[in-house]
């Protein structure tokens, strides 16, 4: 996935002089995950560069660049470090068009590795998509494969909206996949039905897709057929795809890494009951983190969604 993202950046830097890439250590170092490796050498320090260590500064200057016609792609080094930039996101990046009634736009992509499972320090393992999904004017997306990462990032850079692009760092290098060369796009806002099933629908995104797939294999052994929807876009949510699936299966589970309360799971459940109440055979359920801080590595297995946690919920809901 790291290569696919690098490739997408490379393509957009190559074809659009207005694209600039910056952030902490993205230049010389090529990013702590090597996602921007080689780009500074190729495009020069004016287009790919290290910024001072300040996230409000990162987002705020990107707002300025964007209203002046550039298309900044900035990197938050880890998900836990986006918060100093929160005010610039919620007060400006997501609002400038609305505030100025269309006079100014902010085509910004905020790239951010997120999620757990890499034995990291505190603040390095969070998945707080729900907070960002609640911010009007912002789009929030997350790929689950290298192919999606490339196509979605190109779409994100070409979009005139501000987009939070969440990268599942746990699978940065875990999934091997041939990715088509050259430019292609994947539309933002559309979910992807990864596999068809009849008994229960599972909605997930990012690194959770792989975990759900493992659970699906186990469920199948028990004779349960699961339909898997990769949400891809956390806001806006593809209600239609969810509605269609849950009308068919009558059961739905959302699998996420973030805290439970006020999380993505509740939102998906709400959509399911609004769209398919009379089809529901069990209450829409959520497999999620607890309402706690992600534990340090030795405790992280308690918190994380392994395939068994998902299977447990599948069995529970099917028996309901």
């Amino acid at each position: 996935m790291v290569n696919a993202i690098n490739d997408a950046l490379d393509i957009k830097l190559g074809e659009d002089k207005n694209v600039v890439v910056y952030g902490e250590d993205v230049g010389v170092e090529g990013g702590v995950f090597r996602v921007t490796e080689g780009l500074q050498q190729k495009y020069g320090v004016e287009r790919v560069f290290d910024s001072p260590l300040a996230e409000s500064g990162l987002v705020g200057t990107a707002v300025g660049m964007a209203v002046a016609g550039l298309r900044p792609v900035i990197e938050m080094q880890f998900c836990g470090f986006i918060y100093p930039g929160f005010n610039q996101i919620i007060s400006h990046a997501s609002r400038m068009r609305n505030r100025s009634r269309g006079l100014y736009e902010t085509p910004i992509v905020i790239r951010m590795p997120y999620g757990g499972g890499i034995n990291a320090l505190e603040h390095h393992s969070e998945s707080m998509e729900a907070i960002f999904g609640h911010i009007p004017g912002l789009k929030v997306v997350a790929p689950s494969t290298p192919h999606d990462a490339k196509g979605m990032l190109i779409s994100a850079i070409e979009s005139n909206d501000t987009i939070l692009f969440m990268e599942p760092k746990r699978i940065y290098r875990a999934i091997k996949q041939e990715v088509a060369e050259g430019k292609f796009t994947i539309p933002l806002g559309k979910a992807n039905v990864v596999s068809q099933g009849t008994d229960v629908t599972i909605v997930a995104f990012g690194a959770m897709i792989r975990e759900v797939q493992k659970a699906i294999v186990m469920a199948k052994e028990g004779g349960i057929s699961v339909e898997l929807i990769d949400l891809r876009s956390i806001y806006p949510i593809d209600r239609e795809t969810i509605a269609k699936s849950v009308k068919k299966t009558g059961r739905i589970i959302t699998v996420t890494e973030g805290p439970r309360s006020f999380g993505l799971g509740s939102e998906i459940s709400q959509i399911a009951i609004e769209e398919a109440f009379l089809h529901l055979e069990a209450p829409p359920a959520r497999v999620s983190g607890f309402d706690t801080i992600v534990p340090l590595p030795r405790g992280e297995h308690h918190y994380m969604q392994d395939p068994y946690k998902i299977l447990y919920e599948i069995e529970r809901i099917v028996k309901y």
């Binding site: 004016e46 705020g60 200057t61 707002v63 400006h92 505030r99 789009k139 979009s159 909206d161 806002g189």
Partner: protein, 363 residues
């Protein structure tokens, strides 16, 4: 100038005294009589409008408004220099400079009457909307500065903030980024000595606000912000610095907010009559007028004649704004995204269905 008036010397850059007499000839800017008279008129117009808006507000015809009263020289000097293609990044107390960029009073009225449409400037190019979250806009100025430099444009970015705003982290990050990137941004601190009720000594223990430039390795200067000539000259020199690629510059403009913080504020709670009177003497319009009168460029008679014309024009635009009409419901939804997501479309339709139901219900 930035050497002579290095903020470490703790001086303040002044050109005229309280009566408008030139006390610092060496730095007197070269400015034609016509432009000078125009600048004075613009300041007078801004003041007239400002006072009138406060009275509209008292009549309940407009919502909360933050007066510029007493700070007009800063916007006046900026307005006299800022180019059509320069960028203006306001806080919310820069009426004169915004008018100079081409923002209309009507637009400002619409804004304070509660229409976002008032932030869609029809004639003012390169002018950002008013920014409410304190100091946050300075980062936009730094980012715009980057774009200007990146595109090799001959432009300057003006970024405004108040004294209170210098306490925010964004102030620090903005001037610091601009310093590292060496971008053409003129940061102007309108030090009106209060952030709402809070005096500047509660904001910082530093000797001045200009001195903070040292922390970012950028040029800085403390200017008498009620002295039109000093402001003019300081900005002119800053523009030069920026265009030569030596920017940014941090200007502290010392002034006094003669009015309330906003129309919901009562300054008698936190400052004395004596203090206010001491600053009346330094009123920026009075001082510039003193100079103009001494040069026979302006007279009380002219002023008496022009003010009613101003008032009429202000009223005309105000009434236009008042008659702007209802706020269409589409406008709530339309501008969030380049294309409206289905979800928002659905929410708009739901709202429409509700309105129809309600119309039937209450009729």
């Amino acid at each position: 100038m930035f050497n002579e008036y290095n903020p470490l010397k703790k001086t303040i850059f002044q050109i005229i005294d309280d009566n408008g007499k030139v006390i610092n000839k060496a730095w007197m800017p070269d400015i034609s009589d016509d432009r000078l008279i125009k600048a004075y008129k613009d300041m007078l117009f801004a003041r007239t409008a400002d006072l009138q808006i406060v009275s509209y507000q008292r009549q309940g015809r407009i919502y909360t408004y933050p007066p510029n009263y007493g700070q007009e020289a800063i916007s006046g000097a900026t307005g006299a220099i800022i180019g059509e293609n320069d960028w203006m990044v306001p806080a919310f107390r820069e009426m004169g400079a915004m008018l100079a960029k081409g923002v209309t009073l009507k637009e400002l009225f619409l804004y304070y009457m509660g229409y976002e449409d008032g932030s869609k400037f029809k004639n003012a190019k390169f002018t950002l909307p008013i920014s409410v979250p304190i100091a946050s806009q300075l980062l936009h100025a730094a980012g715009i500065g980057y774009a200007v430099k990146y595109n090799k444009e001959q432009k300057v970015v003006f970024g405004f903030v108040g004294d209170g705003g210098t306490s925010e982290g964004d102030f620090h990050e903005a001037v610091n980024f601009a310093g590292v990137w060496k971008v053409p941004v003129i940061f102007i601190i309108q030090n009106n000595q209060y952030g709402i009720s809070t005096p500047t000594r509660v904001q910082t223990a530093s000797d001045s606000l200009a001195i903070k430039s040292v922390a970012y390795g950028v040029k800085g200067i403390k200017v008498d912000g009620n002295d039109f000539f000093a402001m003019y000259k300081a900005i002119q020199e800053s523009v030069k610095v920026c265009l030569e690629g030596e920017g940014p510059v941090l200007i502290e403009a010392l002034t006094y907010r003669k009015g309330a913080h906003t129309t919901s504020d009562d300054p008698t709670k936190y400052r004395t009559r004596e203090e206010e009177e001491a600053w009346d003497i330094k009123d920026p319009l009075k001082r510039l007028k003193g100079y103009l009168k001494s040069k026979k460029l302006w007279s009380d008679a002219e002023e008496e004649k022009i003010i009613p014309q101003f008032k009429e024009e202000i009223d005309r635009q105000f009434i236009e704004a008042e008659n702007y009409g209802p706020y269409p419901k589409e406008d709530v939804f339309k501008y969030l995204y380049a294309e409206m997501p289905d979800d928002l479309k659905e929410q708009e339709q739901q709202y429409e269905r509700f309105l129809q139901w309600k119309a039937a219900k209450v009729k």
